[in-house]
Amino acid sequence: MPVVSSHKDVDTLTMTFVAEFEASVERVWQVWADPRRLERWWGPPTWPATFERFEFEPGGQVRYYMTGPDGEKARGWWTITAVEAPHRLEFDDGFADENAEPVDPKDATHGVVTLETAGGRTRMTTVSTFTSAEQLERMAAMGMEEGMREAQTQIDALLVAGG
């Protein structure tokens, strides 16, 4: 279990997630920097990701889609805002339309990834900041396994029932 800790701040809509891996910083960096490795973990097994554009440099554009069990596609985009190999990556992450272009460039989650050596392992900290609860909701639904997606739908139904 690689998870070390997590911290969620409901006021700032931020989640900080810390995990440690039995591998060097360089190797963990490669799971982000190499799109073929990235697509093996970004989407859940039922919604695997395919990265079709990957400009891993400041200002670079990334386009990907996740393919669902019935062949449906959920598209996303990143704009890379900072790359300091092999320790730091920052990017904006949002939803894309059928043409793989951002639905709304301002409607983006900001992600900051830092890698550091910690006791012979590599500590990866990801900080995700959302702009609204609605955006958080869509992001949460997009990366979910079927069972969780169902649970999430139930939460929504309950909230509607609760007014």
């Binding site: 969620k8 809509l13 989640m15 997630f17 949460a140 069972g147 969780m148 309950l158």
Partner: protein, 110 residues
Amino acid sequence: MVVGGLAGTEADRVFHALADATRRDILTKVIRSGKSVSELAQHYPMSFAAVQKHVAVLERAALISKVRRGREQIVHGEVTALRRVALLLDAYEEIWRHRADRIADILDQE
């Protein structure tokens, strides 16, 4: 910092609590208005004790709370707007827990 086994347990409890149709139904009922366990028990073809167990699972997930009224315990829903954001952040954390597991697998296989 929260270290070790604590991370994710709240999310696990919430998802476990909502994985059952009876519990979802109980929660829907008590969000509208508070109900005693015996009132709830009338709605389900199961024993009072079984309904009590479902209520206990929802309580551990902090989705409901109980308030004593005379000899009865009234069950209330605890799903406010702030709670909703907390649940969504839990769900997002769950995504990252799965991602971290998959990254660990990739690094192990190389």
